[in-house]
Symmetry: C2
Subunit: 338 residues, 2 copies
């Protein structure tokens, strides 16, 4: 119920997922509104509805709302997952509250410092995963080191890359660059420990799109800035192209001839195709869709959620965190000063 | 001598600037190589050369090199400016060393916490300045508050915007978002103090390109990531467009008809037209060009340097810092705990 246009796209996406036999769906929220939306779509009878009386809004303080709004659609959905009544949660609501519900209800997996949210960028010839896209504004070095592990589990599972190349986002490639945080994270990841991924060191903003790195690790503040900067840069570029094209008759004819090319391109760049951003590191499957996500994006979010539940992504994350534990200090070791 | 292709583009840009009567130029560096490059261009006799035996490379540690390489072309150029033998320095060398030379040789202007480097982005219908693009990786809240003042002096002088709209880059528009640094900077800038600019609060990555903000303030780490992310996103978008267009015969014909539009667009987006990034807050004029800058970019860098020297930008910065001093705590006030 907390998406920008809820519950319209949510219900439509869910109905499409059920019709395409992607998953069974339980809609959580205002029962009257959900039933009405289902009726309008002439939905199959087996789309379940679970009433929740409250809504976490985009303006709510994430942690506070996740704690206090106990009957909010988001919180109730997470409770259903915790009790095993559903296998995954999909939401287009408040991303911070999603993180908070993950922490408070699903709980962190053993050994995980902070869960992270992964997003996917189109690149030269493929895709690149970025973690964290906004959940953790202030990070510790071990958080970033773990993001490398979490991101590579995701890249293996969703992008089918058996040994992902992982880099830490910095303001230059040389090891002396970066902040204290990135330098310490780099030191942890560069350790001579057997890894399920290839650590490539520092990468820069432009490398995200270059095709030479599969997972880019950064704190949630920088990750959010990267996501929105690239959205803004692409959008203004498209608008400038359109303006220039429409200035002349020849341009208009050219544009007509290029319609197919632009349509294919739009599909390549369409974030709705990627099916949302998973919250990784919690004991459950939770997929975050954009607040403005349309029905297609929500359906694809449900598809990814179903895949993750079927592939036991949570077990893979647990195993990967345990396997790479030598990369980061345990909090006990830190406390004793070693 | 420290640019990626030095001294070729530097000499060519300088000669063009002299021929177009933009400025008189002193080339600083290896005298034999500079004289040879001048001879090849059949340059006017009045392009001066000042020998310097060392070069600060891109791999050098900025502060260390700026201090120890006393006869480097960059350091010597800054010394010439300090002694008043030249009015401005233009370089395509190591940006960190440029910052360090600014600090050690030109020195900070009275009241300035840290100088910043400004860069310009094309936007919907205009341009937007971003400060800092990489000189200051770790910033204090008062540094960002001062960047708002420095950036608006620049936007007034170079972008001809009488009352720039200034925002602090964050991961959301709500005041509770951001890091401790951005929240404290926001608190300083939101004070009810008369300003020469309009403080608009937090802005997000996509707002840089939206046309509703004239100056975006951020730390040098994030600024550098923003700059390189937008370069990377635009470049991959252009490549995807080209690929899609070339797939079909109709597309190729369309591309032919659109040649003019793409050429005009390239000019709009051409960073070489913007003439480099000034280091603001030091007692002198210093313009940083991209390491890969071509002759045109260097000529435009010289043009901006000449404008700044003629318009007494340094005096404007001094006056603006003094005028807005109520925005930030003085270090003395901080030390006494007030």
């Amino acid at each position: 119920m907390g998406g920008d246009h809820a519950p319209g796209p949510e219900v439509e996406g869910a109905v499409a997922a059920v019709r395409e036999r992607i998953a069974k769906v339980v809609l959580v929220g205002d029962e009257a509104r959900l039933r009405e939306a289902l009726r309008k779509l002439d939905a199959p009878k087996d789309v379940a509805v679970r009433h929740a009386s409250e809504v976490i809004t985009m303006e709510d303080h994430p942690a506070h709302a996740a704690k206090s709004k106990k009957d909010s659609s988001m919180r109730v959905a997470f409770e259903l997952a915790k009790r095993g009544e559903v296998d995954a949660v999909v939401s287009a609501g408040n991303s911070g509250a999603m993180m908070a519900c993950g922490l408070f209800v699903m709980k962190r997996l053993h050994g995980v410092d902070r869960p992270g949210i992964v997003t996917t960028f189109p690149t030269r010839g493929g895709v690149c995963a970025l973690i964290d896209m906004g959940a953790n504004v202030e990070c510790r070095p071990q958080t970033l080191a773990q993001f490398a592990v979490l991101g590579s589990v995701y890249a293996r599972a969703l992008h089918k890359k058996p040994r992902p190349r992982v880099g830490v986002l910095s303001n230059g490639e040389e090891a002396m660059k970066g902040t204290e945080l990135t330098r310490n994270a780099h030191r942890l990841l560069a350790q001579n420990v057997e890894k399920d991924f290839e650590y490539v060191g520092y990468v820069e903003g432009r490398d995200i799109f270059g095709g030479d790195v599969d997972v880019v690790v950064t704190d949630g503040f920088t990750g959010n800035v990267v996501l929105k900067t690239s959205e803004g840069a692409s959008q203004v570029l498209f608008e400038l192209i359109r303006e220039e094209i429409m200035r002349t008759a020849g341009g208009k004819l050219g544009a007509l001839l290029l319609r197919g090319a632009f349509r294919r391109l739009k599909r390549t760049l369409d974030v709705d195709e990627y099916g949302g951003a998973p919250l990784i590191g919690v004991d459950g499957v939770a997929i975050l869709c954009h607040g403005r996500a349309n029905a297609k994006a929500l359906k694809n979010g449900i598809r990814v959620a179903a895949e993750f539940a079927e592939d036991s992504l949570v077990a893979s994350v647990s195993a990967a965190i345990a396997k790479h534990a030598a990369l980061w200090p345990t909090d006990a070791a830190q406390a004793s000063g070693s």
